[in-house]
Symmetry: C2
Subunit: 250 residues, 2 copies
């Protein structure tokens, strides 16, 4: 039966890939990419470099499909995401049927860890549920961007015995700093939600963490928020895209 590996490849540093991920990559017949267009050409390039480095000298194919477009500022967020999720499932279903023979092994590379803010796993579950194309799949865990960020700052995500919350910029804006939690990791923040929190909080912000383009800024929110806003804007202008996240500590 078709086998699909969802492989976490770390958050950008090519050495943050695991021995298991390397082994799985070396077994893949067909790599399936969702191409997100011009903006993330660097990312596609980095992914290809990982394949070149680790896939060995066997025969393998790389198949790309265009990203399913979606409204980035929808009025009904949940419904938009559900529809997008279903379209992604269509896309993977079509790819598995058209590109992966029943005795072949497909690989989907996920930045960071596939179980944290990556939907490949739940999309594949959906394709599996539909039952139109038989396949098995496994998830190969990776170094999350959260671990890469805190390691770069030589700090910890949580403090001793304390909880930590991982959330999105959207949620932080809507709900504020969560109650009874003093350490919050914020991902997917396109709206600079950190400018809206207690200026006395500490922030550990990083972009392109672990890559040669890494930018790290830390300090009191009140002191460095503008510096971060400027750094994001400049980086986005220069590269066309940004991958960043931060830890807020009360």
């Amino acid at each position: 039966m078709r086998m699909v590996y969802v492989v976490g490849i770390g958050a950008g540093n090519p050495e943050h890939i695991t021995v298991e991920a390397v082994r799985r990559i070396s077994e893949v017949d067909v790599f399936l990419f969702i191409d997100k267009g011009e903006q993330t050409r660097d990312l596609a390039q980095a992914r290809r470099e990982i394949i070149r480095r680790y896939a060995g000298h066997r025969e393998y194919r790389v198949v790309e499909r265009q990203e399913v477009s979606r409204d980035r500022r929808p009025s009904d967020y949940e419904a938009t995401i559900r529809a997008w999720h279903a379209q992604r499932a269509d896309l993977y279903e079509e790819l598995l049927v058209a590109e992966v023979a029943h005795d072949q092994c497909a690989g989907i590379l996920a930045w960071g860890d596939p179980t944290l803010y990556d939907n490949t796993t739940s999309v594949l579950e959906e394709v599996n549920r539909r039952g139109n194309v038989p396949f098995r799949f496994e998830v190969v865990p990776g170094v999350s961007s959260v671990a890469a960020l805190t390691a770069a700052f030589r700090t910890t995500v949580n403090r001793v015995g304390q909880p930590v919350q991982v959330t999105t910029g959207r949620r932080l804006l809507a709900d504020g700093f969560p109650e009874k939690v003093d350490d919050v990791v914020v991902m997917l923040d396109s709206s600079s939600a950190f400018t809206q929190v207690d200026p006395a909080a500490e922030i550990f912000w990083g972009a392109y963490v672990g890559t040669p383009d890494e930018i790290l800024i830390k300090g009191r929110v009140g002191d460095v928020a503008q510096q971060i806003v400027d750094a994001r804007e400049e980086a986005r202008d220069q590269k066309g895209w940004i991958m960043d996240l931060y830890l807020l500590r009360r």
Copy 2:
């Protein structure tokens, strides 16, 4: 100057180690172990196996010190932890002075990811602050036990656009299911706090995840809580120790 690498080695599967971790291990002159006694002999054994596999044929030394004992059920938890933290700092300071020459490289291997519920990094910061022994240190991120758990279940830590909280058994017992968060990862739970939550919640429980002894149980809390309690007890009896965690989903 002395260099110390705090290296995340994954949560138990020797293949969950990264290429960077392998490289750093191959550069270490002295590995520093805190020996936690008979109970965790398997863990010490697994760690030694990782060194054997990845350190290569160079000369290196392994130095062990006895764990600093602490009250596991103290009346004042915070104070006990602070005192224990200071003792650990004493221990590492002594180890660096006695065992690592000023031009040598030390390695401390941390299970899972060194930035999540591991205090080595903050203890080393404390030793650095004291200034009695000059050294630099770097943190090599790893695959956290959280990522290993959710990968084993082929699920995600969070749901689309939703927050997730990582907390301890102690906190879950004291504060209950956090507000506005439907996905909670619980670590360090010696008191089976999951038996006290909404029986309709889903639980994904794993012990020794990624190792040959892996145990995975999932289901509604009301249906599987007793099964998990029994499995924990049996496993602890057989091996003398347990390393487990779980995801609760409302």
